[in-house]
């Protein structure tokens, strides 16, 4: 089947088998390897992408289902060559250790801050509860997301 999908603002058209998983389509067919495969069983969230702005697990969708839709992967977070506020805050607050879960964490954080610009710690932890950090580095991930929220507020005020 032919699939046309917009990823990070760029339109791609590819021929694919219906059983092709979205995560493999993104990584192998489009060469965007920032999206990771962790558990491959809908548990860990390493493969999180935004589908029309909503975080979903790309190991649990077929690529054909993304036909006609917009995806954002971690490669799409940078703006004008600069790290996004979420990316910058993860760097600043050491919101990653091994880095494997980080793309998923940052995409969930980006969607969260889009919907709720000033989340409490509880709200951040709740939003992240479908994403597992095997290094157990949650404290700094939460700190980074709250810091990104503050930075984005300053940006709005400035």
């Amino acid at each position: 089947m032919e699939v046309t999908v917009t990823v990070n603002g760029v339109e791609y058209r590819r021929e694919t088998e219906p059983r092709r998983l979205l995560v493999d389509f993104i990584r192998t067919d489009l060469g965007l390897t920032g999206t990771h495969i962790g558990c491959d069983t809908t548990s860990c969230g390493a493969c999180t992408v935004l589908l029309d702005g909503v975080p979903v697990k790309s190991c649990t969708m077929f690529a054909v289902q993304a036909n006609g839709h917009e995806l954002t992967t971690v490669e799409g977070l940078r703006r004008d060559g600069e790290l996004s506020p979420v990316q910058a805050a993860f760097k600043e607050h050491h919101g990653l250790q091994c880095g494997f879960c980080t793309p998923g964490m940052m995409l969930v954080a980006t969607a969260l801050l889009g919907a709720n610009p000033d989340p409490t710690e509880d709200e951040v932890r709740w939003a992240l509860s479908g994403n597992i950090c095997r290094c157990t580095g949650y404290a700094n991930i939460v700190k980074a997301i709250q810091s990104a929220a503050a930075t984005m507020h300053e940006g709005v005020r400035a």
Binding site: R19, T41, P55, Q65, N67, A127
Partner: protein, 291 residues
């Protein structure tokens, strides 16, 4: 992990979906949220030859209030229920269960009707639907059936759908001023299946006695288990600590938990007893308007 190859169709209307399902018969499966079906296909526990993807039929995504019940469309996702003001105001039992289904990412994709149709005894929604006495609307090219949830849940991963039929809607009784309920779930971590889940719903009569009691359990039997003996025992009675303790004993005696990674059977039985009492008290408080 990859499923075996399958044919894929993505209809743009319900009629088109029903035509496709009629063509493929019992070789076909509806793909809604896919959060259970796709993992099962990847593990090759399910291998449908044809998938009919209903995700582009936006007319199937709705939560409406109609004649004293809430109508939940086939494409309504768990996250839609979490956010829904109609559910928040009209169905305390669903509102308390929705945030505990799976995890936030799965809730963005998985559907309530899909979960109901899946009939996994570790799924949360069928306990809620059994306690509420919900109805399932099934459509095929030749007509529509309205199936009580207790008839719809046939067995372990087995529903009452015929080949060519799909669930199009759930009809859930709306709370009135004298009814309420809740869902209590014990889970090891967010996203895990319930170790034990208990759905309780009470409707009081005008004198404050129990008119109708609904009680159903998750993860402690080969199906979501409606505890009919306890429901019958409570009907017509004055609510009390003793009554709820007796219902909890019946639930603990009736359930059939298995020892597994989530704990020994006797532990689960003890949780059923404690959670049933708590859930009934919470349902009573809601029915009385105290919370």
């Amino acid at each position: 992990m990859y499923p075996p190859a399958f044919d894929y169709a993505v209809p743009r209307s319900l009629d088109e979906a029903l035509d496709l399902l009629a063509e493929v018969g019992d070789e076909g499966r509806v793909l809604a949220g896919g959060q259970s079906l796709i993992p099962m296909m990847k593990l090759r526990l399910a291998a449908p030859a044809h998938l009919v993807d209903i995700n582009e039929i936006s007319e199937l995504s709705y939560i409406r209030e109609v004649n004293g019940h809430l109508a939940i469309g086939a494409l309504t996702r768990h996250a839609d229920v979490v956010r829904s003001e109609i559910v928040g105001a009209g169905c305390s039992t669903m509102a308390s269960a929705a945030p505990w289904v799976a995890d936030p990412l799965v809730r963005n994709r998985g559907t309530v009707c899909g979960s109901v149709a899946h009939c996994d005894p570790e799924g949360d929604w069928n306990s809620v639907m059994l306690a509420l006495g919900a109805e399932v609307v099934a459509r095929s090219r030749t007509g529509e059936r309205v199936i009580p949830i207790s008839d719809f849940v046939v067995d372990f991963f087995t529903n009452a759908l015929e080949p060519g039929e799909m669930v199009t809607e759930l009809r859930v009784p709306r709370d009135d001023e004298r009814s309420g309920g809740c869902y209590l779930k014990l889970e090891r971590k967010i996203g895990d299946y319930a170790t034990v889940g208990v759905a309780a719903h009470l409707r009081l009569d005008e004198r404050g006695r129990i008119g109708r009691a609904g009680l159903a359990l998750t993860s402690v039997a080969p199906v979501n288990l409606e505890v009919e003996e306890a429901e019958r025992m409570m009907a017509g009675q004055e609510p009390s600590e003793e009554l709820f303790a007796e219902a909890a004993e019946i639930a603990a005696r009736t359930c059939q938990p298995q020892s597994d990674v989530r704990g020994p059977a006797e532990y689960k039985r003890a949780v059923v007893r404690a959670y049933t009492r708590r859930a009934l008290h919470q349902a009573l408080a809601t029915a009385r308007g105290e919370r």
